[in-house]
Subunit: 132 residues, 2 copies
């Protein structure tokens, strides 16, 4: 799983993102790593996240309540965003419709790279909680 020439911190950040489904923010990553690396800097996390995005290792899936969220699964897939707890959940079972991109390009004259779909609402856990 380790990558070419990654420093210890960089590797730790990357493998943490790879091995979580939480679509983390930089702050979240920082909080997770503070235990194992007590002197890690938040700036280091931001710096490495930006580099991962730059290199296509991860993608930014936009911002939830002002905080940028990342995904190590770079395939095009939809997400569910819980407006209550800010959870971002994969909906990778939904097929990606590339023909839709072509159709929009044809209809509008814009050059379409891709599209993203975000479902909003209350996640299952939050729905259950509200019944207690």
């Amino acid at each position: 799983m380790a990558r070419k020439n990654f420093s210890e911190k960089r590797e730790a950040i990357y493998s943490l993102i790879r091995n979580t489904k939480t679509h983390p923010s930089a702050e979240w990553v920082y909080q997770q790593l503070k235990d194992k690396y007590p002197n890690i800097s938040l700036g280091t996390v931001y710096r490495n996240m930006a580099m991962f995005v730059e290199q296509g290792l991860i993608v930014s899936i936009g911002t939830v309540n002002g905080r940028e969220r990342f995904d190590a699964d770079t395939s095009l897939h939809a997400h569910f965003i819980c407006d209550e707890c800010e959870a971002v959940i994969d909906l990778d079972y939904l097929p990606y419709d590339r023909e839709l991109d072509d159709s929009v390009a044809l209809n509008t004259g814009h050059s379409v790279k891709n599209h993203s779909v975000f479902f909003h609402g209350k996640c299952r856990k939050c729905v259950e909680k509200s019944f207690i």
Copy 2:
């Protein structure tokens, strides 16, 4: 077009948003109004935007490069976002698929309110520019 009990500034902000297709940010609205109202405050724009969203008169369509963008067309429709010039363009000809919301709710157990679709790429104008 004027609304119930709107102050002059509030009315100006609201009708500006209504009469543009740019999906403006708070800063953009502020810049537009500075000529006519030289002493208008950016805080006033933010305050009123928040109130319009609160009351359902406009919606936030998320953030583009860190700046929140608004839409006075509160109907559910897709948008094209130009990654070069930050233009946000309506794709209101695309039908909204409410059954998709039901299907996701059924498949995941989340309570789905709605979904939003963002196409990314280069808008027609930017494509043309790059050929000059």
